[in-house]
Amino acid sequence: MAEFHYFAALAILASTAISLWRTLKGPTRADRMMGTLLVGTGGVAILVLLFLIHGQSGVLDVALLLALLAAFAAVGFVKSVSPDGAGDPEEEG
């Protein structure tokens, strides 16, 4: 079973690596952010698969933290593109 889990983790790693092409090419800033968001989701999936392989429950804590940090990164991105940094995407300006 561990071989299948390793294969699944490698496939997800490859798909997140391919998605970094979108981060590289854009064209908009939101597209670049989406490429890195996929790294967050894919990273959580890889960590869950590593938990299945090794059985160390601490890996699940890392997965929780990665999911949290990906959300904070996106909220920080939206705050940085709003005109006065307040984070309201529909404000005038």
């Binding site: 299948f4 998605s19 979108r22 989406m34 999936a45 429950s57 999911a67």
Partner: protein, 100 residues
């Protein structure tokens, strides 16, 4: 043995959704449809992989923690999808002259 097969099927389904999400992120024509592929297909794939891990988990607390990870990822992706979609929207959408 039954749990191992169920887990393998669920993880394979999750892989398909992950690959579909990446394909959508690369191939869809504009930012909002790419956001749609990213925040739905990938989180469904993550849900299948979490379910595949949960049927193999030893105790109920591990299952609850796996469920917590997925719920956190879902809440994060729904919030982030709204925020990024509104920040990527053209400024005059719905106004005079229609959206750009």
């Amino acid at each position: 043995m039954m749990a191992a097969y169920a887990s393998a099927v669920l993880i394979a389904l999750g892989l398909i959704f992950f690959l579909a999400g990446t394909l959508g992120l690369l191939r869809f024509p504009d930012a909002h449809s790419r956001l749609h592929a990213l925040t739905k297909a990938d989180n469904l794939g993550l849900g299948f992989i979490v379910a595949g891990a949960a049927v193999q988990a030893g105790d109920v607390w591990t299952v609850l923690k796996l469920l917590l990870i997925w719920i956190l990822a879902l809440i994060a992706s729904t919030t982030v999808a709204q925020l990024i979609a509104r920040s990527a929207a053209p400024r005059n959408i719905g106004g005079e002259g229609g959206g750009g």
